[in-house]
């Protein structure tokens, strides 16, 4: 073991311990960026659970937790199951409200843990490959390179090795919060929420680490607004070539597949071999080379595995169907589990020679192999694909179109499939129609089905309902092919300089982020429809993960993907794909950077002030239309803590908790005018922090509305209201009722609707607000002139 040169390093945990004693001293230790006087240290570097609690309680008094219990019982300890219906307490004394908050915290802990574990695992791999001194360099246009880390931790990491400390901190905090979930620990819902918000924040830090480490080492686009387009859809792969399919989020083994191809003289992906991915790993492969192919989001896993197209499947971690190995075995596709966190019971063959593993896989001696060395995975995957491809052409688990009728024939129209479908899709009617020869109803489900397979599980006749849907949609399935922009990564400082002012003033009507999973209520192209609409309206539209994929599935009237229509900048009227799920913090980072670069606020350890800034001035809104996972819960909660509202689709209510304001409680919607210390009612700006929409129409109206901020200038407010009113009128048929609260002076009124709105306001007895333009804050300490 090599002893590292240079000055000593201390673990951040030690620093934190000592910092309790030395709060206001500057820390100057070792190689960590702390020694630099880049900024004075703020009040909360490396915050623990209690340090931002006051901030949480402050905004939770406006955005009160709303609970929709998903289960009336608790089954977490052996006293249970306890009946918590309508306020009954469990054996440990907990009530239903507190219990819901507890489960929310648990979900956020799991979400944050997943990204942190991912970041840690990938970092260990990258440290071995690139060394700890590998510099963190995001290119000349990004000086402020890890805003969340700076803001939360109060440090400025410079090398790959420095990231270790950030993850130490994240791990410690996750363990602290998870401990609070234990029976007989935290007992108050607001405190559970505060911890959930803490986990959300930690999640953004961990994701930032995860994405930055791969961007710098793998040479991903460093905030490139012109990141190239690449292909997505089952139709984008050449099925005559051997194909490796990666599923998951941790790209290391997939990178090694591509590197192996290159080293072995097999050229780029798509030449001798197709290299395709599902879920976020696919995004990250295309960030490495846009010759890799994206099959689609999580909802495409079952159909693509069953299609039998893949010659080998590499599972890394997260968003893997847990029946993947069984489904692959049915179509004779060998599987490689490449990650400790998802071993699938497969034998650990890491120590065997490549050839031996390939033999076992190709001869079907085993369903798959666990290989915990990414480089070896690369070699085994490629060699297995090459050898499997000629062998297994004929295997698939999806019937041919002409077999559908027969497969459907045992259907008794019992509707159990439909009643087990998360979206109540009319599978019963469709299968029954197919039984009688009409496959059209099945084909119509193709776009709506999220590929969960629950219909099949319920069918007493064992009819492969999902497969029938895919079979009926075969033409679409085999040929669909769209354009998606490769994940660009972070937002450039230069972009922030361009859009900072117009965002804060409201002249860019908002930043909309389409994020999250594939549990969509409507065809996934609806995400694209929304993104298209907002980009068209001049919003800055961003996206990540499955949602960034879904956008590609929308085509405008000219048949173009939104990515082809709009530029990829973080700019007015442009539409960017930031990348995989761990690219989400680039969006919150953009908000932070607005405060930093445009408003010159200090970031360092200064979370509260920046969150206050964003909540009151940065008109950003997240949309997680198909949010499903615990990760999505913690990501959304992290957006909330930094002051960004989020809209989720109807299933989002199963997360059990929203943060809803009640604007009629005027006191709660008052802020300080920092210039005078006066309390000013700012109206619903924004009204909620997490909202659930039932329909796409409702979602679009609320997206526009949740971008409204107290800091809007009259021009800015006018622009935002133009969009809000226009969408509201279009979908709801009239003027919105809350206009009197949103129009502060006549100058706020959209020109297009001037007369109509004036008349409406008059009828409502509207009076101009005394103070249309303020310097809004919720933090008393930021008041410059104290009220007398």
């Amino acid at each position: 073991m090599e002893i590292r040169k240079g000055p000593a390093r201390f673990s951040l945990k030690e620093l934190r311990t000592n910092m309790i004693q030395a709060k206001d001293l500057e820390v100057t230790i070792g190689r960590l960026a702390m020694e630099e006087e880049w900024e004075p240290q703020g009040p909360t570097p490396f915050p623990g659970i209690k340090d931002l609690r006051a901030w949480d309680f402050k905004f939770l008094s406006r955005y009160k937790p709303f609970y929709a219990p998903f289960c009336d019982l608790c089954c977490l300890c052996t006293y249970g199951k306890c009946d918590l219906t309508a306020g009954r307490r469990g054996a440990c004394g907990i009530d239903i409200k507190t219990q819901q908050a507890r489960i929310v915290l648990l979900a956020c802990c799991i979400g944050a843990a997943t990204h942190t574990a991912h970041a840690r695992h990938l970092l260990e791999h990258l440290l071995l490959k690139y060394g700890e001194d590998y510099p963190i360099n995001l290119g000349p246009e990004i000086e402020c390179e890890m805003p969340h880390v700076r803001l939360v931790c109060g440090i400025k990491p410079k090398t790959l090795g420095d990231l270790t400390y950030i993850l130490d901190y994240c791990e410690e905090q996750i363990v602290q919060c998870l401990a609070a979930v234990h029976t007989g620990q935290e007992g108050n819902y607001l405190d559970f929420e505060s911890k959930a918000l803490h986990m959300g924040m930690i999640d953004h830090v961990a994701m930032e680490v995860a994405d930055v480490e791969q961007i710098i080492t793998y040479g991903y686009p460093k905030g490139d607004p012109n990141a190239p387009l690449t292909e997505i859809g089952c139709g984008c792969v050449d099925v005559t070539k051997p194909l490796t399919l990666s599923i998951g989020h941790n790209v290391a083994p997939s990178i090694e597949i591509i590197d192996y191809l290159r080293k072995a003289g097999l050229g780029e992906p798509g030449q001798a071999i197709e290299v395709a991915g599902l879920c976020c790993t696919a995004h990250d492969m295309t960030r490495y080379t846009n010759q890799a192919k994206i099959i689609g989001p999580m909802s495409y896993e079952l159909r693509f595995i069953r299609s039998g197209i893949a010659d080998v499947i590499v599972l890394d971690e997260q968003c893997i169907r847990t029946d993947a190995v069984e489904e692959a075995w049915r179509v004779k596709t060998p599987v490689i589990a490449a990650n400790e966190r998802a071993c699938y019971g497969l034998p650990d063959l890491t120590e065997l020679p490549v050839e031996a593993i390939v033999n076992k896989l190709v001869r079907r001696e085993i369903k798959g192999a666990a290989i915990f060395d990414p480089e070896k995975v690369g070699a085994v995957a490629v060699l297995t694909a090459l050898r499997m491809q000629p062998l297994r052409k004929k295997y698939k688990a999806i019937p041919d179109i002409d077999q559908i009728k027969q497969a459907a024939s045992p259907c008794t129209f019992c509707s159990k499939c439909r009643r087990n479908c998360p979206w109540d899709l009319p599978t019963d009617e469709a299968v029954n129609a197919a039984k009688h020869g009409n496959i059209e109803p099945l084909a119509q489900l193709y776009d709506r089905c999220i590929g969960c397979g629950r219909c099949e599980e319920a069918c007493p006749q064992h009819i492969p309902v999902h497969s029938l849907i895919v079979a009926a949609g075969e033409r679409k399935f085999k040929t669909e092919k769209f354009k998606v922009r490769v994940g660009r990564g972070p937002i450039l400082d230069t972009e922030i300089r361009e859009v900072g002012a117009p965002i804060v003033l409201g002249e860019i009507p908002g930043v909309v982020a389409y994020v999250g999973c594939a549990n969509w209520p409507t065809p996934m192209s609806d995400v694209g429809r929304m993104a298209y609409e907002f980009a068209r309206r001049g919003y800055i539209v961003t996206s990540t993960g499955c949602s960034a994929m879904a956008i590609a599935f929308y085509k405008d009237e000219e048949g173009r993907s939104p990515y082809e229509v709009f530029g990829g900048g973080f700019l007015r009227g442009e539409l960017s794909n930031e990348g995989s799920c761990v690219a989400n913090p680039h969006i919150s980072d953009a908000c932070i950077k607005i405060a930093y670069i445009y408003a010159r606020r200090n970031l360092r350890g200064n979370y509260e002030e920046i969150a206050d800034y964003i909540l009151n001035r940065v008109g950003a809104c997240g949309v997680a239309w198909g949010a499903m996972s615990q990760k999505a819960a913690s990501i959304a909660t992290g957006f909330n803590r930094i002051g960004v509202p989020v809209i989720v689709g109807p299933q989002g209510l199963k997360y059990r908790r929203l943060y809803l304001g009640r604007v009629e409680d005027e006191e709660s919607f008052k802020v300080y005018d920092a210039r005078t210390g006066e309390r000013v009612f700012v109206g619903p700006a924004p009204e909620h922090l997490v909202y659930v929409a039932e329909t796409v129409e409702e979602c679009m109206v609320w997206t526009a509305k949740l971008c409204i901020r107290p800091s809007d200038t009259t021009k800015g407010r006018m622009i935002k209201l133009t969009n809000y009113v226009d969408l509201y009128k279009k979908f709801y048929g009239k003027l919105p009722e809350d206009l009197p609260m949103l129009v502060r002076t006549e100058a706020d009124i959209p020109v297009t609707f001037k007369d109509e709105i004036m008349e409406f306001l008059k009828a409502k007895g509207w009076q101009p607000h005394p103070m249309p333009s303020i310097d809004p804050t919720m933090l008393e300490r930021l008041i410059r002139v104290k009220r007398v």
Partner: protein, 184 residues
């Protein structure tokens, strides 16, 4: 043997089992619900997106909703974008997202209908996405002890206090019509 989901009065969605308290679904639902509605001091009808999408023999669900509300002079909250349908029909529905209205209904001092004193003591649901409605009903079950809920959809909704059973359209139509008739 025990079987999964005896059809009529088990949660429509297989897994939607909330706990020991599940909705009653009496045989004479239309009459009973009409009696409950008539007896209520401040009933409220909340409708969702399906009122613009579901037809029963050519009659849109929204028209049933309006009939019901008119019979009892009851306000309607139109969730999502359904307001548009009511405007087209000149019915003065109040537009509010489902979670917004459910949130407020937890407050015993809240009423949609300014003519009547709070709280709403009975809330009827119609035409809302099943799982979304189910979660909203759950909130009311747990946190709005001052009101009862009835669902008029064709699904058995365990989180309501009273629910129709799971029925096909034919029977649903009969139930709705019987209910409207019984409202007087």
């Amino acid at each position: 043997m025990a079987s999964i989901l005896p059809s009529r009065t088990s949660p429509y969605e297989t897994g939607n089992i909330p706990g020991p308290q599940m909705a009653l679904s009496p045989d004479k639902a239309p009459t009973i619900y009409a009696a409950l509605t008539k007896r209520a001091k401040n009933p409220l009808l909340i409708v969702g997106k399906y009122v613009l999408e579901f037809e029963l023999d050519g009659k849109l669900l929204i028209d049933y909703a309006i009939e019901i509300a008119r019979k009892r002079d009851m306000p309607i909250v139109a969730t999502a974008h359904t307001l548009k349908g009511f405007l087209e029909r000149n019915f003065p529905a109040v537009s509010m997202g489902l979670v917004d209205i459910v949130n407020r209904l937890q407050d015993p001092n809240f009423t949609v209908d300014p003519r009547k004193p709070p709280p709403h003591d009975l809330v009827l649901f119609l035409g809302i996405t099943y799982q979304f409605a189910s979660q909203g009903l759950s909130t009311l079950k747990h946190f709005a002890p001052h009101l009862k809920t009835i669902t008029l959809c064709k699904w058995y909704h365990p989180n309501a206090d009273w629910s129709f059973p799971n029925v096909k359209n034919e029977e649903w139509k009969q139930l709705l019509e019987a209910f409207i008739k019984a409202l007087g």
